[in-house]
Symmetry: C2
Subunit: 316 residues, 2 copies
């Protein structure tokens, strides 16, 4: 039998990623480009560019809430371009192959389960730590097809409103967006910081990397921002541990670059908060597929669905 | 083939419940008595009293964190009597039948799935609202064998410490214990309230029923306490909805007696906070097995384990 291929798409962040992935979970070709408002045309172009003679299907991981009954996206506060378009029907029509859709955090969790840091765990929770905070839950070796909007869990119920409608969401304290907003606000208030010299003095262009770099150089504000964000991430980790008691928590996304301050602080805080016996049984570790978890997981949606097998029996 | 029976035990609250349950999920006989420090002897006596000629096994639902590998209880902040005893080995030795152990919220969720309000749902979260707050999660028709300590999810990460070690746990705002503590504190501060006339003037004996009754009679303090507790319960519901996007949330425990104020307020708050599309797809409804969910679910642990079948195929 010939090797099978699928297209995996990751519409999770500010970039879109499209890859041709083999049944073994290997990336054959991959395109990464900035997301645009013309998402459907942009996707069609990229798929056409990397498609092999024959693909078994298209798997799509996207930010937002998935309407699983109708294969659509309900709402996507961080990626409005996908709202209201029937992406799966359109892609099916254009390429004449089956299309499967999932939340991007869920797709990344599936990717890590199949070929990444989650391979040897029967249950784990994946958190994507970037502009926003997303998640995916593996239990009993399978992906839980749930919203897993862990970033929109309220951890300060009487605090400030989140654009999602909730109040005091984890994402407002522990995401890159939250850190940058705080840095800008503090500098505007006159706080001294090395960050003022970044981006040629344009603080509105600050990135989490700038904050981490300044922190390593001893900048007080940057260290404080990373530590506080880490502390709140730890609140989120403790909540996950107390509810899901997973074998592992896998952390992904750009912010894990700041592991030594941000994540270490989070682990310390979680250890203070979660039930001791549960904390002692959980491993907290970084994603191993990094940027590729989403496209690999998305492609696997195709292989898993077509094989009719469950995840545990499907060997990569 | 003759009918099968199992013993179901619920060590969830201030009372212990032991029942003889048929394979069809019917309670043949049941004993309910206050929990004591001599829990093992108390259980042995009750089991001996109601045991039929032959039972297939004993299922035990208990407050606390379950060490599933060793069939023991790690820690049980609300029921210290079960900590450090090897209940399953002891019961196995005394009755010479297999013994299965689960968290009490999980057992109740299983009970509701098999013969209660959760029968027709593939996925739901059960919350037990009493002295403390517990939970259980059904997904894909099966019980998730996780801690599901939903009452120990922090919803106010910078607030007061919870005895569990975490800070600002849901249980500290929305449980019976929290309501009573607030009533006592307010009355001690001199707040006028009908509650002062309850329990022959001994406010340290107040119950949630007293608060609900006073609220129905127009008592301002009681209404405020129930509404605020309900609001925080709503924060918890929204978090559950955003993460687990269940088909239903089933509410159990003594506090659902105050449905018209406490739960209604919770539903209103959850509707304001959770993602609209997810909130619109969830049904929030009361337990139908009430007090019996725990013992029925515990007995079902036996039937399910012995049949080797999964929950969906096992018909009651």
């Amino acid at each position: 039998m010939s090797r099978k291929y699928a297209i995996g798409i990751d519409l999770g962040g500010t970039n879109l990623r499209v890859a041709l992935v083999s049944e073994e979970g290997e990336i054959v070709r991959k395109i990464k480009k900035p997301s645009s408002a013309q998402i459907l045309d942009s996707l069609t172009e990229s798929i056409a560019e990397i498609k092999a003679e024959k693909v078994a299907g298209i798997g799509l991981g996207t930010a937002g809430l998935i309407d699983r009954k109708n294969g659509r996206v309900y709402a996507s506060p961080n990626l409005h371009a996908v709202e209201g378009i029937d992406l799966s029907t359109e892609l099916r029509r254009r390429f004449n192959v089956p299309v499967f859709i999932e939340n991007d955090g869920n797709a990344a969790a599936l990717g890590e389960k199949i070929g990444g840091a989650g391979k040897s765990f029967d249950s784990f929770v994946l958190l994507t730590l970037g502009t926003g905070i997303g998640g995916g839950i593996i239990h009993g070796g399978r992906l839980l097809k749930v919203a897993s909007e862990i970033g929109h869990m309220s951890i300060n119920s009487d605090a400030e409103k989140c654009p999602c409608g909730n109040v005091g969401c984890l994402e407002n304290y522990a995401s890159a967006r939250a850190m940058i907003a705080r840095a800008v606000a503090m500098i505007e208030k006159g706080t001294e910081s090395l960050l003022k010299e970044c981006c040629k003095g344009n603080i509105y262009k600050l990135s989490p990397e700038d904050i981490y770099k300044a922190a390593l150089e001893g900048d007080t504000l940057s260290r404080e921002i990373l530590r506080d964000a880490g502390k709140y991430l730890g609140v989120g980790l403790a909540n996950i541990i107390n509810i899901m008691s997973p074998e592992a928590i896998i952390l992904a996304g750009g912010l894990i670059g700041a592991w030594n301050i941000y994540v270490q602080e989070a682990i310390k805080e979680a250890s203070r908060r979660a039930f001791k016996d549960l904390f002692d049984s959980v491993k907290i570790l970084p994603s191993s597929l990094r940027d590729n978890a989403g496209v690999i997981g998305a492609a696997c949606l195709v292989f898993l669905s077509l094989s009719g097998e469950n995840l545990q029996r499907y060997h990569y």
